[in-house]
């Protein structure tokens, strides 16, 4: 019995040691197992939003964003002593329910902070209760200024309606000189309308018509019909701004925007949410012809996946992988809300034991994020709060194209206050002034590549020739002849376009390019390696303050039709194209101590060996040698000379092979396949040792030891061969 216990104890001990070792080497399973063993403090965060009812898709996105932030923190090795639990509350986008929930949350001794609520009215009502009970609240969706203003317990990771109004007017100014507004007071209260009117007047844009959508049930429908009838009667309504809920917005769009009409419509952030998208795409015409109603509609948004900086690529990729769709701005802003909350929790070492103190500390920590220097890097931008508890950021402008919501071709960014007029003059005519701020125009050029073929790939020199089509979709002017292909062997000049068309103000220019590129390729993992062939370019003159390349996924058939993904790479090269991904990032350049950033476009062509058996070419002879060394153990000690001859021949043979391999692959580091050679050298030494020990034992006249040492030698030899075999099979797999 004791023996059994001992054995069991040993096994358990060994397993623990293994797990500890694996954990220290970064193994996820082992780490999570060890974490399970540790006792953790539990912190509860409440998330309140519309989990059922018409706006449930927004509630779903809120939860997804918050959960992803927790998961990302865990993956990054943070929250080691904490367990954050998300407690979900459904306010159904109703004020009364929201107030009831707020009271319930406030009384809950476990909850240390609240994320939510979604809508402006619910957030404003609930925030008063949170303020009274001293519980910190962060909203990632309520844009009404009053939702956080004058409430030290309320914070917002989404900019407010004043910023939204500025963004709308900045874009309107470049389109037309007058606007028509349809709005719902319940949704955006007063600050959006007031800001639109104030900024429009200042920017010289006339608010020609203004219709409020009010009433409930049939009255609301009748009012809507009346508004639409009035709108149709107007000759030129200018830019139509719609600030309503998703359902009403969809009803208006369905009636006024379809092929044949030429309204310019800008919607508020509601237009960029899942409920609006779903309401539109469920319409029969929209299903028959994607974009039937929504094509060309603009909408402000605090976040668009394609427009967000390269830093957010990981978030967007993870989100797509997890939920099979791009993250909405709601998901991104609640990701940021949770992220900044985690920062606050860690900063104040919150443990969830004293809920009142914890709440106070969290509020104090959140208030500390008040300047760019102390900001937390969020996916929608830097998170730091102003005096009103808000992030200060600009809304981006997106538009719908074939049912996809994408960044508009022109974006604006603040470059200075108006008083800095010298700066404005220096910039020139490419600027506009709204709300006392100078905005510069940033041009977005949708870019894409279709790779026709990759030729003459030389993995040693890192040279390869790529034949590809490249296109640019843009509005206005764009000088694509000034592109710099960073790793092309000779400068590439785009000559005659194969396509040059302009439709609805959008120009598409496509070129065919065939050129040689060069880059350093790593082959440490030879012969199991894969390579990434990169084509990257940036504009020679225009920095990313003026020009940004956006991957044009909408026009890339390879992303839509897998059957077209095959790209020719001559089979005599022994390599095949596995995948092509296209991304953007920044190219940094320093000119006399000034750092300039350029938008850079990258195409990554992933290639792998066509013949999976290639490694066998090297591994089979090596295994043959290792097996022959093993055979030498099976010969008797009487044949010691023969055994030594075998060992010497095999080690020499392996050495010559090793030498020629290094000649072909002159790498400065150890390459993967070399471990097999090292193993053979070690086995050779082992074989010699076994013979030596055997002869010694014979002289000492201990024949039993000879067999013993021989068996140990055979065992070690067999184990090494088995390990090599497993290692190589795993790599081959």
């Amino acid at each position: 019995m004791k023996k059994k216990l001992l054995i069991l104890g040993l096994i358990a001990g060994c397993n623990l040691v293994w797990i500890a070792m694996l954990s220290s080497s970064g193994n996820q399973f082992a780490r999570s197992f060890l974490k399970q063993l540790q006792k953790k403090d539990r912190i509860v965060v409440a998330l309140a939003g519309p989990m059922t009812g018409g706006g449930f898709l927004n509630g779903r996105d809120m939860e997804r964003g918050a959960r992803m932030a927790i998961q990302d923190a865990l993956d990054a090795g943070r929250l080691s002593n904490l367990q954050i639990r998300l407690s979900i509350f459904d306010d159904q986008n109703e004020v009364r329910t929201a107030m009831k929930i707020a009271s319930e949350i406030s009384l809950n001794r476990e909850v240390v902070a609240v994320l939510g609520h979604y809508k402006n009215p619910t957030t404003m009502a609930a925030s008063r209760i949170y303020k009274k009970n001293g519980i910190p609240m962060i909203t990632g969706s309520a844009t009404e200024k009053k939702a956080t203003d004058k409430n030290p317990w309320a914070f917002g990771t989404v900019p407010d309606d004043v910023d939204q109004a500025v963004s709308i007017i900045t874009h309107v100014k470049a389109m037309k000189r007058h606007i028509t507004v349809i709005y719902e007071k319940d949704v955006y209260d007063n600050s959006l309308m007031a800001s639109i009117e104030a900024n429009a007047a200042e920017a010289g844009v006339e608010v020609r018509y203004k219709w409020e959508l009010k009433g409930v049930g049939e009255n609301a429908d009748a009012r809507l019909e009346q508004i639409i009838s009035d709108l149709r009667a107007i000759h030129d309504p200018g830019v139509i701004i719609i600030a309503t809920q998703s359902r009403e917005a969809a009803a208006i769009i369905r009636r006024i925007n379809h092929p044949g009409t030429d309204y310019t419509i800008i919607g508020t952030d509601t237009f960029a949410t899942a409920p609006f998208y779903k309401a539109m795409t469920s319409l029969p015409q929209e299903r028959a012809k994607p974009g039937y109603y929504v094509n060309g509609i603009y909408s402000t948004t605090p976040f668009i996946a394609e427009w967000a900086g390269p830093e957010t690529n990981l978030f967007v990729d993870n989100y797509r992988e997890m939920y099979d769709e791009s993250p909405s701005w709601v998901a991104a802003c609640y990701y940021d809300a949770m992220k900044v909350l985690i920062e606050a929790i860690e900063l104040k070492h919150i443990n969830g034991r004293q809920f009142r103190e914890d709440r106070v500390h969290i509020r104090a920590a959140l208030s500390r994020f008040s300047s760019p220097e102390e900001a937390v890097n969020g996916v929608a931008g830097q998170i730091f709060f102003n005096k009103e508890g808000r992030v200060k950021r600009q809304f981006a402008m997106g538009y719908y194209e074939n049912q996809r919501f994408r960044p508009a071709f022109t974006q604006y960014q603040v470059i200075a206050d108006e008083k800095e007029s010298v700066f404005k003059k220096a910039i020139g005519s490419n600027v506009t002034v709204v709300a006392g701020k100078v905005f510069s125009q940033k041009k977005l050029v949708y870019t894409g590549m279709d790779i026709n073929g990759v030729n003459s790939l030389n993995v040693i020199s890192g040279e390869f020739i790529v034949d590809f089509f490249i296109w640019f979709r843009f509005v206005g002017d764009f000088d694509e002849k000034e592109l710099i292909f960073e790793n092309s062997e000779a400068p590439i000049r785009l000559k005659e376009p194969v396509l040059d068309i302009t439709r609805d103000g959008i120009t598409i220019r496509a070129y065919q390019v065939k050129a040689k590129f060069k880059q350093a390729l790593r082959y440490d993992e030879f012969p199991f390696e894969k390579h990434h062939l990169i084509i990257r370019f940036h504009h020679k003159l225009q920095t990313d303050r003026k020009l940004v390349f956006i991957p044009d996924y909408l026009s890339m058939h390879a992303y839509l039709s897998p059957e077209y993904r095959q790209i020719s790479l001559e089979n005599t090269s022994g390599w095949k194209v596995n995948n092509v991904t296209q991304t953007r990032d920044r190219f940094m350049r320093q000119i006399s101590s000034i750092n300039l950033a350029y938008s850079r476009y990258n195409a990554d062509i992933s290639v792998e060996r066509m013949d999976g058996r290639f490694a066998l070419k090297i591994l089979i002879p090596l295994f043959s040698l290792a097996l022959f060394l093993f055979f030498s153990h099976l010969l008797s000690l009487d044949l010691a000379r023969t055994r030594l001859f075998i060992i010497a021949s095999i080690v020499l043979g392996a050495g010559i092979c090793h030498y020629f391999l290094r000649v072909i692959h002159p790498s400065s580091t150890i390459i993967q396949v070399e471990f097999n050679f090292f193993a053979i050298y070690a086995l050779g030494i082992l074989s010699v040792l076994v013979i030596g020990v055997g002869i010694l034992c014979r002289r000492m006249d201990t024949p039993r030891w000879i067999n013993g040492f021989n068996l140990i030698g055979q065992g070690i030899h067999g184990l090494v061969i088995a390990c090599l075999l497993v290692m190589n099979i795993i790599k081959l797999w």
Binding site: W471, I508, A510, S555, H557, G574, D611, F631, L635
Partner: protein, 729 residues
């Protein structure tokens, strides 16, 4: 009791089987669509038509087996005879099981049988009868071959591009009269003067006319031959000496029977092949050489299946079958409906193929019908050169894409407007390459240097220098031509080029391999729709030197030139070009490409042997291991180790000579060798163990087994290698 139960069970099972059989046949019967094929089965042309249909059905069986099973083919022989065709039509109509008829071949048979099909309500699709009257006023008859209206239009445009007047020579049959009327109508629109119309009913009448033509001093720009095939033979033999006459004939002149008789006649008189045809202009409904990539694939498949070049009839009937299969797939045919109702539904589907947006992608064109139930596309026009039909320098192609510059193009002569369709110009450029020398073949870097003459034959207005050699090491700019000649509006230019080209050397079968050195080029900006490069059938220009001269190689080169050949194909790229609407149907960008292949083989037959000699030696060493072991077990192992290291060094040496990223034939030989060495090692160890236990008999058996088994395995390995190398030759 048991017996009773057994009987009941058997009876029940029989009933079940009967019901299942009936249901199966009901289902089977309901699903089947009978397609009758009416053609001259005993003629070569008829065979070609049938092969085209069968080729499509074999492809359908792979792509859509369920649909293929639905289609049942019934082949009838109408012997190209009107009465037989009518009798067959009556039979098919009365039978009431046939849904679609594919055929007939001739205008007469199609027209008369068509009247019967119309009466019975049977769908018919022809891929060879070009008469306008076949489909006009017969809503049940469709045609996938352009009719005589298109033929007349292209001929008129061609005559207009080379002259102003034409004389008509026609036999007074209904068929020919229809064509003449159409031609005269188009000619009038284009401003062509018809100087005279000769008509005849008998051979005597034709002879009289021919004597008259031969005796006249003033000759028209063209003489249009609109006669029966038999009359064509008389005309061409009678006017063989009048090389000054420009004869232009209808598509009957591309009939294999006519060509065969004329060539046989020339052969009998010891005249060169094509003697009677050379210089004669004619049209053909379809030419594979000028069609897109689908047609190239069709040609390859046809060659694979039937070991013969496909004719235009084969291509057209392939399309007819394809169109029928698509229509059947698209039509929801109910088993309970009457046959007539099903046919009406199917006809409705066919009628819905009425624009390029609602069409089937055939190999001859996009298949859709005009109001007369006929496809519209231009004929290919050309001239007989050295007995072969060579397309003219300028062809027409139908343009379905909306174009706001239509009028401008028509005015500039870049397009013509015929039968409410825009036909754009397509240029044919004949070219050839004569290789003078091949130098510096570098297998490691995959390059070689070639010195060659390149010539183009084209009509004016073509930039022959704007070409791209995609595999050239450095971009090649054609300088000044070394020779140039312009005659009858045709320019021939010869360039001399010496350049380095990249080449893909496949060394899988090293050291037994052969290689193709390839020189390709295509036009930089003109796509396949605007330009086709074709192999020059006029022969090499005199400036390119001695035609029989072999290209020179480096002194001391281990290679010899085995064969040189030229061909043309299409290079295709697929891209959206940034147009979002193209994301689902990407644009296909094609260029006509001209290729020259220089096949090279090793001079020294012992070269491969030298490279694998150490391996053979190692194999020999393994073979004698057992004999060496008889003297000492240690020697056996020493021999095995020697064999292993020898083979290893051989492999390292070969790998150092030819390092590629894939497993080669020699690698497989080495893999086999390592397996053999392993077996030999295990056998030796086992023998030692058996002897240690004093099991001499078992050790002997093992030894014998190895001595028999080893040579056997080596022989099998050699036989396989030899067989594989033979397949490379």
């Amino acid at each position: 009791m048991k017996k009773l139960v057994l009987i009941i069970l058997v009876a029940f099972a029989c009933n079940l089987m009967g019901i299942a059989y009936l249901i199966y046949h009901k289902i089977k019967f309901d699903g089947v669509v009978n397609v009758a094929v009416c053609l001259p089965r005993e003629t070569i042309k008829g065979q070609m038509m049938l092969r085209g249909i069968k080729l499509y059905l074999s492809e359908l069986a792979d792509e859509h087996p369920a649909l293929r099973k639905k289609i049942r083919l019934r082949v009838y022989d109408d012997k190209d005879d009107v009465k037989t065709a009518m009798a067959l039509a009556n039979q098919i109509g009365t039978d009431n099981t046939t849904m679609v008829v594919l055929g007939h071949n001739t205008n007469g048979a199609a027209y008369n049988a068509g009247k019967i099909y119309k009466r019975f309500g049977i769908i018919a699709i022809t891929g060879s009868a070009t008469g306008i009257e076949v489909t006009r006023e017969n809503e049940w008859y469709f045609s996938v071959v352009p009719n005589d209206a298109d033929q007349a239009a292209v001929m008129a445009a061609y005559i207009r591009s080379r002259g102003r007047n034409v004389t008509l020579l026609q036999s007074k049959s209904d068929e020919n009269v229809y064509f003449s009327e159409k031609f005269k109508e188009v000619a009038r629109e284009m401003g062509i003067t018809i100087t005279r119309e000769w008509s005849f009913r008998s051979d005597a009448g034709l002879d009289r006319i021919l004597r008259d033509i031969d005796g006249r001093e003033s000759i028209p720009d063209f003489i249009l031959l609109n006669t029966r095939k038999e009359d064509l033979l008389r005309i061409l033999t009678a006017l063989e000496h009048r090389t000054d006459l420009n004869l232009i004939g209808t598509s009957a002149l591309t009939d294999s029977k006519v060509i065969g008789i004329l060539n046989t006649l020339a052969e009998k008189k010891n005249l060169p092949v094509g003697h009677y045809l050379n210089g004669v202009h004619t049209v053909t409904p379809f030419l594979l050489d000028l069609a897109d990539k689908r047609a190239y694939i069709f040609r390859q498949r046809y060659l694979q299946h039937f070991n013969q070049e496909p004719s235009w009839e084969a291509a057209c009937y392939y399309d007819a079958m394809k169109l029928t299969a698509h229509a059947i797939e698209r039509t929801a045919l109910k088993a309970s409906d009457s046959m007539l109702k099903k046919r009406k539904q199917l006809r409705k589907t066919l009628e819905e193929y009425n624009s390029s947006y609602h069409s089937v992608n055939g190999i001859t064109a996009r298949l859709y019908f005009n109001q007369d139930g006929c496809i519209e596309r231009p004929y290919t026009i050309g001239q007989y050169v050295n007995g072969r039909f060579s397309p003219a320098y300028l062809q027409y192609r139908k343009d379905d894409t909306p174009d706001k510059h239509v009028l401008e193009k028509v005015l500039k002569g870049k397009a013509i407007w015929v039968n409410n369709a825009l036909m754009r110009m397509k240029r044919i450029v004949y070219c050839g390459i004569k290789v003078n020398a091949i130098k510096k073949i570098d297998f490691t870097n995959g390059v070689f240097t070639a010195d060659f003459y390149l010539w183009f034959r084209f009509t004016r207005g073509f930039d022959d220098k704007d070409i791209v050699f995609p595999d050239a090491g450095d971009p090649i700019a054609l300088g000044e031509p070394i020779w140039e000649l312009t005659s009858d509006g045709v320019t021939t230019r010869v360039f001399q080029i010496r350049a380095t080209f990249k080449n893909r050397f496949d060394v899988f079968s090293f050291p037994f391999e052969r290689h193709d050195l390839n020189i390709h080029f295509h036009h930089r900006s003109m796509g396949f729709n605007d330009l086709v490069y074709m192999k020059d059938s006029w022969g090499e220009p005199e400036a390119s030197g001695d035609a029989a001269m072999e290209p020179g190689l480096d002194v001391g080169s281990n290679w010899r030139v085995e064969a040189i050949g030229s061909s043309h194909d299409i290079i295709t790229h697929v891209s959206t070009l940034g147009i979002p609407d193209n994301a689902i149907n990407p644009a296909i960008i094609s260029y006509s490409r001209f290729n020259t292949h220089i096949g090279i083989a090793r001079k020294n037959p012992f070269f491969p042997l030298v490279h694998v000699l150490p391996l053979f030696l190692a194999m020999g060493l393994v073979g004698v291991v057992d004999y060496a072991w008889a003297r000492s077990p240690g020697r056996g192992f020493i021999l095995l180790t020697l064999a292993l290291t020898t083979a290893l060094m051989n492999q390292v040496w070969l790998g150092n000579r030819v390092w590629v990223n894939y497993v080669t034939l020699v690698d497989y030989l080495f893999f086999g060798f390592h397996g053999l060495v392993f077996v030999a090692g295990v056998v030796q160890i086992q023998k030692i163990r058996l002897l240690q236990k004093d099991h001499r008999a078992q050790a002997m058996v093992l030894s014998r087994l190895f001595n028999i088994g080893y040579p056997l395995m080596v022989i099998i390995g050699f036989a396989w290698t030899a067989y594989y190398i033979r397949t490379l030759v």
